[in-house]
Each structure stands twice: as C-alpha cells, then as structure tokens.
Amino acid sequence: MKKENEAFRIFFTGVGGQGTLLATRLVGEAALEAGVPVLMSEIHGMAQRGGVVESSVVMGRAVSPTIADGEADIVVAFEPLEAVRALPKCNPKTVVITSISPILPFAVTVGQRVYPDLEALYGMIEPKVASLIRVDAEGLAKSLGAERSSNVVMIGVLAGLGILPASKSCFEQALRIIIPERLLEPNLRALGAGYEFGSERS
C-alpha cells in the first residue's frame, strides 16, 4: 500500500514551555506540503500552567483528530517521564521517540516524590512497544549552537525514521513557513541533525 493511503496517528507529549505545539504544527505543515490529509489537535488553557501539554497529529486516512488509548502509531515525548505517562496511548506496534532530558515535577524538586531512574523508565516502555528511540535532543541542539531547538531535533528524528509520508524537504519547507527568517538557520541544522539520527535508526 502506498504510504499516502495509510493512516498515521502521532501523539506528542511534553511539559509547558517545551515547544510541543510548535513541533506539532511543523509536522502538520510538512504533511500539507506533501499533499497528505492532516488534522492536528491541541489542548490550551489550564494545561499550560506548568502542566503536561499533549497534542496529536493524524494524517493519511486517519481523520479522527484525537488518538484513543492504544491507537498511537508513534509517540513523541519531549520528556522521558511523559513518555511513560503516554503508555496508555501505545500498543505493541507503537514506535516511541523520547528525549532523555528530565524536567523535574514540583513534587520531585521539593522532595515529596522521587523522579524514577531513567533506565527504569525506559524499561517500563521498551518491552511493551515496537521500539523505543532515545534522543539526546538537548545535547544535539546545544552542540549545533541551537539550544532552543531541541523540539525541532525531535521532529527531525521523527522525519528521519521514514515512517511518515513526508520527505525531508517537506519538513524543511514547513520550517520555512513557521519559523521567522532570522531563526531559520539554526533550526534547519537542528532538523538535519535529528533527521540523520533518525535515519540511522530506521
């Protein structure tokens, strides 16, 4: 089956301020650029006061803009704890991409709860899904002089996996549409580095 005729459901999760919604939009624009039907869903408001930010992109033949439990094809987590919290969205065929940089919840920073060991977190995900891809998005972004673009690195990885029916140039064009000219260059680098990382793991 041609990729365009398949259904893709991508669930994004992160913490307020990580650029989750911008990253979601990037994937949407890339799909549009590729001529693939797309719908994205976001939750605004209360969720942004330091809480979890979730969004979803469905493309191809999937038209329901929300992703039911067990129905995500791909989960992109901008924070490892949130990758685990998104487990109910996963099934044994789901590909999970997670950033490896924790953002500590308040209950943890003040010592009321413990942030689980990262390896333990990955261990909760790995046996239950098709694959878990860990990305040092922050490190990669920093090494490129694009500190604020770790969200774009993550999208680069998603693009590089070659699962979605949108080429690298579609994602680059999407960046040009969304990102102001003066910030474009570092973001293109971030996307490229993520893309390379992703294509090595595809």
Partner: protein
C-alpha cells in the same frame, strides 16, 4: 499584513478552527465583533483584535458575554454584520439576551459562536449548547473540522441574513483547537462598520403585545428554517448498506475512522448532520426508513437521538434506534474512535476487539500551578496567615482557582463566574464562620459587581478580596476595563476598581500590594476586626501578573533570590509547606536537606525573602 488577511491561495492554509472561523467571517464581510474571552473560544476575538484595525472592523473585548451579544445585536439591527463568540457557560450569562433576540431578530447577518468543552478540559461543567438552539428557536450549524468551521460561518451569515435571525455556530474544543488545512476564498473590500438605525418600536421593543406577535413569527420562521435545513448540503448521506449511523460534529470523524478500520464501508450508511437546528425531520425519517437499525453517535447529550426517535414515532417506523439510550455511546466526556467502534460492534453485532490498554505506572504528577512570582500566591499566603482554616473561602474563575492546591488550600466553593461574592453573602447569613471570598479583577467586572451590591444592601458580612493582576490572565492576557499596562505604556484605568467598589456602597476598602507581606497581613488583620461592624469589607490586592507585565514593559529581571547555603532547612521548609513557589527545590547533602531557588524560574518577587531570613536578593 496579518496572516489571516492574506489573499486567496492555491495551497490550503493550516488554520486553527478558531482562525478558520475568523477567516470565514472576514470573507462574509463581518464589520463588528465583540466577545469576552473563554477557553476554547478565545482565539477568535484575539485574532480579530490583532487584525481589526487593518481590516476596518470594530472589535471589542466586552465586559461579559451578555454585553457582547447585546452590542453585536445592536450592530446587526443597524445593518452591520456582526459576530460574538463565547464558551458554552458564557451562553448561560448571555441567555437572557439570546432568548429574546430570537424574537426581535436582526437586519444584517449575526453569528453567535458558542464553544462547548466536552471532557471539561478548561471548564466547570460539560453542557450541551444544542438545547439552547431548540429552546430559543435560533438556527444552529455544527462543524467537525476547521474547513467545515470556515464554510459554516459563511453559511451561518447567509442563513442569518436570509431569515433575519441570529445564527448559532456550535463548536467543541476539538474543532476550536484543531488545526487543519483550509481552502480559503477572497475577502470583500472593507465596508466599515457604519450602519443605520430605523425606528420601528412595534417590532423592536418587546412589550408583551409585541412579544406575542413576534412569538408567532418565530414559530413560523422555525418552520421555514426547517425547510432550509431539509435542503441544506450541510446534511448529507455517505456510504451504502442497511446499517445506519446518524452523527454530527467531531463524532463524524470518529465514525469515519471506525467504519474504515472495521472494514464496514459497504455495510454502513452515514447521515452526517451539520444543520442541526431546526432538524431536517424528513431527511432523518427517510434515512431511518432505509436502514435496518440506526445508531446515533454524538457527544454529550442525546440531542439528535431524541429527534430521530420522534421522527420514527411520527412516521410509525419500527426501526431500532440506539445511542445514549441503550448506554452504547457514553454520555459523559469526549468520544474517540475506540468508543465508537465498541458501540458499533455491540449494536450491529460485529466482532471488535478493543486494544489492550497499557496502564501507566504511578508517576509523579504535574498539576498546573500558580506561576513563580504570581501575586495570587502572596495574597493567599497573607489571608491564610490571618484567617487560617477557620474561614470559608468561596472562590471564582481564573488562574487563582488554582489556590485550591496545597499548600495554599484557599478555595472552598465555586459554581460559576461571580459566584464567589454572592455565595459568600449566603454563607454569612446561615453560619458563623468568617467568609472571605476571592475574585479576580476581570471576573469582578464580568459578574462580581451585582453580588457586591447585593451584599452591601442586604447587610451580609463578608471580606471580599479582589485579586487584581491587571489583566484577564487565564485566557491569555486580554484587556478589561481596569487595565493600566499596555504595550504603549501605563494608562489611567478607564474604570478604577477602587472607585467602583466604593460606588457599590462599600466604605471599608483598601488597596494593598500583596508582595509586601507584613503590611498586607496587617491590613487583613485590621479588616478582620472591622467587618463585624462594617458588614462588607473589600481588599483590592493589586500587583500585575508578572508574565503580562514582562510582555507589556519588556523589562528584564534584575534580581533573583537565593537561600543561605550555610544554614540548614531541615527543621523548617515553611517556604515549601506554606508558600510553595515552583522555583524552590530541595537537595540533601550528608543527609541534611536544604532548599534552593532555581534562578531561571525565580521572578524576583521577594515574597519568600520576607518570610525567611535565610533568603536574600542577588543582582543578575
């Protein structure tokens, strides 16, 4: 040029549902827009506010939803196309206007956008606005996607103008905050917003005699609207088969996914309704007559299901109709494709194995919290220091509702906008504990004033605390009548809160700066003693939302605070157990716990340094 004003493009634009509504209204020649913000509808008026000047449109942030509807109605009566937008509970506030505006009608098109919030993502209840259409006799359209929202707002203006009635565009969160491709058209040349009022009191002044005449006209109009609905392309049938599904809004998308993934394309026929009031009874009846069984898939209440059952009864059809009625489609919260597949499987007797849901383990939560440097935290801290757990704290709707969380625990009762001050008065009459209601500045202007006047005139005993952060923070920093900070600098507020409070008859009033911890406590203590005699006291706790202040003044922070690392926090940690600013974190070395302040989060408000000697400022 604002991105929503661009010329027609070949490539579809990726628009938020709310942006698609704005674009559709622009293409319909809207000249007058008014709204009070409310999630998930806020971006509609926000985008209009951004582009209004450029597009030659009058745009206002009204003081509440009722006012927004009334000013918009007046514009439409004068021949200026108008739009007002609100969240579902906003329509409760505007309901008085809504129910009789349906009698009086309009001259130019008027669209009322009402955004429902199934699952209560950002709301206090999950109500189904569609019953308001039925209650009022106002026509209603229900889109499923941004593309449909765009198309339907254009259609809503057409229907409104043709039938001289406001038209309701009912959305849900998954339409408002869904982003999707929209094929846009052209915006007509700006025609401004000047209209003309023609006196016609015996049609426009709803005396009982006039109302009686208009009531009959309304019923007649409803019949004509039903004919319009019968022939509307917004209601359509797709697929073939003898199993029927009737659906509307975003549920249609869940149905399409479910039917495709269950391989039922040649077994299921779908009636998708977009013009959902008045309902196309003949179309529904014809559909029911052509299927063996019919499942109604819709979110929240059984609005279409009830109509379908009425249609079947009136035409003596014995077709089995189910939905909420048989418990197949959940009545509470949002639907999704799995819930719909289960309902389809159960009702049509088709095998379906839902996915095995993997449970997430118990993880540290990330509840939303008041931001670092939020002045509300300081106010709650000061009030709790004086009143402790003894007082009852009715609260209201805004960021400050988060005062419910520990360690502040400063919220005891809430039903709706403005309920804090009114319910406080009731509490004070039937029990003896002190009553200290909280209300935000924008909420006070919106719905708090009548409650305060009521408290004064009926001798209630309350200490009202107005949390004045100078903006409508929760929904994205929209202006209100008391705004002082603007992008162009500080202005005199158009309506002074303190003068307004005094004008309500309150004599015991004082404005405090909650970031001055000891002074604030002193005033609160003083008021605690005085309200026994005065009855009503009002403290205006005034300090700008730091996010808003930064946006308006572009001021960079100059100081942050730090803790003295030589002192142990092991025995105290009151900064965490009583204040709980998210900038605090705890680290242990050699088994001794110490509180630190994350400099990147600290806003430099200084409140913590006033409650702990070990905290001091640091220049950056």
């Amino acid at each position: 040029m604002h991105e929503l004003l661009i010329e027609q493009t070949q490539r579809p634009q990726l628009l938020l549902g709310n942006e698609a509504i704005v674009r559709g209204a622009l293409e319909s020649g809207v000249g007058f827009v008014a709204a009070y913000p409310g999630t998930p509808s806020s971006e509609i008026v926000d985008r209009f506010a951004q582009l209004g000047g450029e597009a030659g449109i009058y745009v206002e942030y009204s003081v509440n939803e009722k006012v927004s509807m009334e000013v918009s109605a007046a514009a439409a009566i004068c021949g200026v196309r108008s739009l007002c937008a609100m969240k579902h509970v906003g329509l409760n506030v505007a309901a008085d206007a809504f129910m009789t505006l349906s009698y009086v009608g309009v001259k130019a098109g008027m669209v009322i956008v009402v955004a429902d919030d199934p699952f209560l993502h950002s709301s206090q209840n999950e109500q189904d606005t569609r019953y308001y259409a039925k209650l009022s006799g106002i026509p209603m359209l229900e889109p499923a996607t941004p593309q449909e929202a765009y198309r339907m707002v254009i259609e809503a203006f057409r229907i409104s103008e043709k039938f001289r009635t406001p038209c309701l565009l009912r959305t849900t969160t998954r339409v408002n905050h869904c982003r999707g491709p929209v094929e846009i058209g052209t915006i007509p040349p700006a025609r401004g917003f000047s209209g003309e009022f023609k006196k016609d009191p015996f049609n426009l002044v709803t005396l009982p005699a006039v109302g009686r005449k208009l009531r009959l006209a309304l019923l007649d109009r409803t019949q004509r609207l039903r004919e319009e609905s019968e022939g509307s392309p917004l209601n359509f049938v797709s697929g073939t088969g003898d199993l029927g599904i009737i659906t509307s809004g975003v549920s249609h998308l869940h149905v399409l996914d479910a039917v495709r993934s269950m391989g039922l394309e040649d077994k299921v026929k779908i009636l998708k309704l977009g013009f959902t009031h008045p309902q196309p009874k003949a179309l529904i009846t014809e559909f029911l007559a052509g299927v063996a069984k019919a499942l109604v898939v819709e979110e929240v209440e059984p609005f279409i299901e009830e109509a379908a059952k009425v249609c079947a009864q009136e035409s003596k059809l014995s077709v089995e109709i189910a939905g909420k009625g048989k418990g197949l489609v959940p009545q509470a919260f949002e639907l999704d494709s799995v819930k719909v597949k289960k309902a389809i499987g159960n009702f049509f007797g088709i095998a379906y194995e839902p996915p095995n849901v993997i449970d997430a383990p118990d993880l540290p939560q990330r509840p939303p919290n008041l931001c670092p440097g939020c002045p509300h935290r300081a106010t709650y801290y000061a009030v709790k220091k004086v009143f402790g757990e003894e007082a009852i704290y009715p609260t209201d709707i805004g960021c400050y509702t988060l005062g419910i969380l520990p360690p502040l625990n400063a919220a005891d009762f809430l039903i709706c906008m403005g309920s804090g001050v009114s319910t406080a008065g009731g509490f004070s009459k039937v029990q003896d504990r002190p009553v200290v209601p909280f209300i935000g500045d924008s909420t006070f202007f919106h719905a708090g004033v009548p409650g305060l006047i009521n408290a004064v005139s009926n001798g209630h005993k309350i200490l009202l605390v107005i949390l004045d952060n100078g903006t409508t923070a929760m929904t994205g920093h929209q202006p209100h009548p008391g705004v002082e900070l603007t992008e162009k600098g500080r202005i005199e507020p158009k309506v002074s809160l303190e003068r307004l409070v005094r004008g309500c008859g309150v004599t015991l009033v004082e404005t405090i700066n909650p970031l001055q911890v000891k002074k604030s406590q002193q005033v609160i203590r003083d008021f605690k003693n005085k309200i026994n005699e005065a009855g009503v006291g009002v403290i205006i706790s005034k300090s700008p939302c730091p996010l808003f202040e930064n946006r308006m003044t572009k001021k960079k922070k100059k100081i942050v605070f730090r803790t003295d690392e030589s002192k142990s926090c092991a025995e105290c940690k009151k900064c965490i157990t009583e204040l709980g600013c998210p900038a605090f974190f705890v680290e242990s070395s050699d088994g001794v716990e110490h509180v630190f302040i994350d400099e990147s989060l600290c806003m430099g408000c200084s409140v913590c340094s006033q409650i702990c000697d070990s905290i001091s400022p640091k220049r950056i």
